[in-house]
């Protein structure tokens, strides 16, 4: 029987000498979901992940992983892990290293060899399998590291800041592979503080700040619950002061977030998007994009984490 949730945290607390890294955190990660654990630096993401992996023990609370307590020794073979701090044995040959890491997760030597070969081929590293890790470029090492996390066909994939330090090509490779694995039924938990990544990938999220949960749930629900009407506005040319009059009217727009080429506007209660458009046009601005939307994850994150910070 397969449980509905791959990971369940109940009132988990972890203290280090002097400060509380995670405080009474509860969350449930649905099976087969792409789950984003979001939070600013130092929010407790890595500590939470380490507790799920039984690298750290919680001071309070319980953690259930794939239907077993987190300390269950059989879990290692069912979980794949890409740590934030990445590293490999530099002097080892690529294939030997992958086989070794798979063996530590309970895969037989022969099987590990075959699978490693397949993955190396898939990510275009076949001809490097006999080389030492230190002879590989950084991007190739990142691929090897990623292979090591999926080599044993894990049911749960845990990626801590997976996109940190990745070049765009590898980012894409990683994203494609993760999505494909998720489609195949693998549950993926990944942490990030870059909301654009989460926005594109996740179907569920949990935002934490200062070790506490701020909000969690399916992405669509989180957006709906955040409420408010939002408009994404892009102009051909942002000239100083041109549309300030419209944007500074608090009966119309309560908040403006500028992102380079566009801005996200939060509309006041009862304000109509149409009215905003009219006022902007009347000011003489050339509009290239005007879109009534749900709040972006970025905006939710800033709002929610900002609340906690105050």
């Amino acid at each position: 029987m397969r449980e509905a949730h791959a990971v369940i945290l109940r009132d988990v607390t972890k203290r280090y000498s002097g400060h509380t890294a995670v405080a009474g955190l509860s969350l449930s990660i649905p099976r087969g979901s792409l789950y984003g654990l979001l939070g600013p630096n130092g929010a407790g993401k890595t500590t939470t992940i380490r507790m799920v992996l039984n690298i750290l023990l919680p001071d309070e609370g319980t953690i259930e992983v794939l239907g077993r307590p987190a300390w269950d020794r059989t879990l290692a073979s069912r979980i794949g892990y890409l740590p934030e701090e990445r590293g490999l044995y530099r002097k080892m040959k690529v294939l030997d290293l992958l086989v070794f890491l798979a063996e530590t997760r309970g895969v037989g030597r022969k099987e590990a060899r075959g699978k490693a070969g397949e993955w190396l081929e898939r990510l275009g590293l076949s001809e490097w399998s006999g080389r030492k890790v230190e002879q590989l470029s950084k991007g190739m090492q990142q691929k090897v590291q990623f292979i090591s996390t999926v080599l044993h066909d894990p049911e749960l994939l845990i990626l801590d800041e997976p996109f940190a330090g990745l070049d765009p090509v590898n980012s894409q490779v990683l994203k494609d592979t993760v999505v494909e694995l998720a489609r195949g039924g693998t549950t993926v938990l990944f942490s990030t503080h870059i909301m654009e990544h989460a926005e594109k990938l996740c179907d569920s999220v949990c935002i934490i700040a200062r070790g506490r949960k701020v909000v969690d749930g399916p992405l669509s629900e989180v957006k709906r619950a955040h409420g408010g009407k939002h408009v994404v506005l892009a102009l051909e040319e942002w000239r100083d002061g041109l549309i300030d009059e419209a944007l500074q009217d608090r009966s119309l727009v309560t908040r403006v977030d500028r992102y380079g080429q566009y801005a996200e506007l939060e509309l006041a209660d009862g304000a109509a998007p149409q009215e905003v458009l009219e006022r902007v046009l009347r000011a003489g601005a050339k509009v290239t994009r005007f879109e009534v939307s749900e709040p972006s994850l970025h905006k939710i994150f800033i709002d929610k984490v900002g609340e906690v910070a105050q």
Binding site: S17, R50, L53, N54, I55, L56, L57, R73, A76, S77, I79, Y81, P83, E85, R86, G87, L88, Y89, R90, K91, M92, F100, L101, E103, T104, R105, S148
Partner: protein, 423 residues
Amino acid sequence: MSKVWVVVRREFMERVRSKWFIVSTVLGPVLMVAFIAVPIIMASRGTGERTVAVLDASSGGFGERLTEQLDQAPLLRASRVPVPVGRLEEAADSLAELVGFRALHGFVIVTDAAVEDGKLEYRGSNVTSIADMSLLRGLLEDAVFAERLSRAGVDPSVVRRARIPLEFTTLKITGARTTRASGAGSFMLAYVIWFLLYMGILLYGANVMGAVVDEKTSRIVELLVSSLRPFELLAGKILGVGSVGLLQFGIWVGFAMLALEQRDMIARLLGQPGLGAAGSFPEVPLSTAVVFLVYFLLGYFLYAAMFAAVGAMTGSEAEARQAANAVVMVLVLPSLLMIGILNDPAGSLAVALSLIPFTSPIATPVRWAAGEVPPDELVASLVLLLLGLWGVIWVAGRIYRIGILAYGKRPGIRELVRWVTAG
């Protein structure tokens, strides 16, 4: 258990295949051969002949006889420079000039005080050579001794017979049984055992530390502890490096035995037949080999665990080396007291050192080789060592478990205590 095996195999294979292993395994025997060969070569080439002068201001023909005796000694040329007592210093100055021109190594100043009061003086460029000086001293002593006897009216043939040197044999008594092992041989065996234990434990223990630091600095440890218990990782590492050590020792010991067996041939190859027998090595009894092996392994485990803990609590190779000095100091302690142990293998110092778990891995086998360790003391030593080992591994394992994931400032004593006592 199977995961420990996976770690052991990786540590073993990676090390055995590395350049470091190949170089050090080959270099070891090369040094051993050099140990045997260099003295032979040195003996054949010699350090060259020494030319000395006898500045003779004595009376009664002693100077002539002394010069003759010195000249007969191997590798020594002596010639006599007679001089009246009043002009001694003047003559010495001109001989010193000859020494300066390297025409002469030095000169002995002989006056009548030599025979009467035993006062002799040598001035030369080779006074720092212990070999030269002890040879010269021996010859001078013999000559003065003979001169005194003959002046007292003793027959010269009696004097010659009185000067036949001693042949002093020492044999070790183990229990109540006289063994064939000679005193010098036992000393040498104990010395070799000390050297192997000290070097082995230090070398491979530090190797474990290096491996721990390497995993920590390369950050792969985070990945490893997500699939292995820290203790499995630590145990696998220590056992893996240990088996490399045993293999390397095995190769070296095998090579050493071969070299000793074939030392005549090696000597012949070097063009010095006969000299090979000079470096004889005592036979190693099986019991000594067993004691050595058991203590080497237990001592290695003990120190490797400590080195691993040190590696885990530091953040870089350099920092670890520095922190490891404390561990090395404990290891060095029995070495500093080696002479004490060898002088009195049954004395209270030796007994104490062979009971303390941190010193017994080296002290007990050395005592065993040098003299006698009563069975009850051996058992007590082993029990204490095993208890100590258990304690050290427990503490080291806890430091390791937390240390490998802790980055930043090196923990202080209080922080370490918290690591050890934390659930």
